[in-house]
């Protein structure tokens, strides 16, 4: 146990004075306007730069169809394995049509059966899910995406009753967002057409 040293009168006064100085600071801050945000009545305004959960980006002409080309780079780079992408299956191949050559023709003379070229699988996702419970918000998926099909959302006020509430189906989410988007502005008529219509109107 440390021993208390005896204080002189002025030392005691000096020590007590430090409390008054501290109170002065508290007093000054007390009369200042409040800086706290009264959530949920108020919300903060700097959400635009916040790195929320990821969401898909639609094609410019078809905002409800994702730009994603199913390259799986986001899936391989994700440290938490929270992204799942399922590629659309290739269409079923048609059975090889019977050769039109007459049956009595010898086999050697029959035209060789050519296998039709294999149909390529379309580069379209049928399932794109994000398990936000596992996401570590590193942003690697957004960085590695070669077609810029993923972006950060500004969804920051998250609340739910179970973990399932944070397992997002991002394709459905994209369609929902596209439906809410304002209708595109009508295309402007080319100048030549405009002139013609104007002339017709004059005539």
């Amino acid at each position: 146990m440390k021993e208390r040293k005896k204080l002189t009168f002025w030392e005691t006064v000096k020590r007590q004075w430090s409390l008054v100085v501290g109170l002065k600071v508290t007093g000054k801050n007390y009369i200042k306007p409040q800086i706290t945000t009264h959530y949920p009545r108020q919300t903060v305004d700097n959400i635009s730069t916040f790195k929320g959960h990821v969401q898909l980006v639609g094609k410019p002409k078809q905002p409800d169809v994702a730009k994603c080309i199913c390259c799986m780079l986001c899936v391989t780079s994700c440290p938490s394995s929270c992204i799942k992408v399922v590629k659309m299956k290739p269409p079923k191949e048609d059975p090889i049509p019977e050769a039109a050559a007459p049956k009595d023709m010898p086999d050697a003379a029959q035209p060789a059966k050519q296998a039709p070229p294999k149909a390529k699988a379309p580069k379209t996702p049928v399932k794109w899910t994000l398990d936000f419970n596992l996401c570590s918000l590193c942003g690697t998926c957004v960085e590695v995406c070669p077609v810029k099909s993923i972006e950060y959302s500004n969804d920051s006020y998250l609340a739910g009753y179970s973990r399932k509430d944070f397992e997002y189906d991002l394709l459905a989410d994209l369609k929902e967002r596209a439906a809410k988007m304002p209708a595109p502005a009508p295309k402007k008529a080319p100048k030549a057409v405009e002139k013609e219509t104007a002339e017709q109107a004059e005539a």
Binding site: M1, V25, S136
Partner: protein, 388 residues
Amino acid sequence: MLKFDDQILGDAYCRHFERGPDDDTMVINMGPQHPSTHGVLRVVCELDGEYIKRAEPVLGYIHRMHEKMGETKTYWQFLPNMGRVDYLHAMGWAHTYVMAVEKLGGIEVPERAEYIRVIMTEMNRISSHLLWWGAYLLDLGAFTPIMYAFADREIMLDIMQDPTGSRLTYCYHRFGGVLKDLSPAVLESIRDWVKYQRERWPMYKDLVTDNVILRGRVENIGVIDKDMAIRYGATGPVARGSGINYDCRKNEPYSVYDRFDFDVPVHQEGDAFARYLVRVEEMEQSLRIIEQALDQIDKAEGKHIVKKAPKPTYKAPAGEVYMATEGARGKIGIHVASDGSKTPYRIKLRAPGYCNLSLFAELATGTILADAVSILGSIDLVIPEIDR
């Protein structure tokens, strides 16, 4: 009965607390949920009245095997883990890790990215120290300072959110650069904030540093002498509060730290108040570094923030490398051994808090319980860093 070296207490974490038949002592657990243990640290204390006969930190409540995880994930995938090792100085850990991998693979970093890294790491150091300042005083019974510290920290976090997108567990560093450039608007807001923060120090001093109650709680408490600090491998403000003039940024300069003029605050007393002063002065020095970096960043060669980014499936060449930097709590060390594959062969993290915590058992012995709280707080622990 286990035998242990009396010279280094606290190292044998599994020592038994066996009481003799005549002992009139009481064993209590401080933590793992006690607010003064700053996370999930459990301290088993053997008390004789109010005096501590023995105090032993017990770890393992938040162990997430970061080092083992490093062996199963690619170099890229391990990067966000750095923000979780020390959540208050995420930038410092990420900086060390990317530098280690860059050293291993010979990846070039543009000059502008180096300046950005320094600015962000130093801002993160201040935010870490500010939170410590508030939390330490909260431990000692003062509630007001943490509100002021949070208000100031909030301004800094708003600025850092713009380029990084997050507010605590940043994943901003990249191999060969950083994620996003600092826009002129952000640079300007950092300048304004540096001026604002400078004006706040006198208020901090009036409110807390000169306060007689704080002085009574921290002066001559938990005295660590120079030999003891060296014996336990203490680094950072704990060592500098004991008169050891060692700072990685000065002694083993990395990044562009050799281009800045700043002082290393050192106090000889070795008590909790010396450690307090070192951290408060360090914040001022960090502001100096940020100011100089802001002046020099426009003169940096090129405008790249990443010259050539390695792919997510990057394979580092075989070999091993050790990188040490100065974190908010002391020396951060990362040792990476590579066998030339996509994943590191072995990763070892040297957390400063772990060595600093090992001092606690010796410091707390013989003091009263209230002093143990002020000793524990003055070491500035972040338990996830210790427990990894």
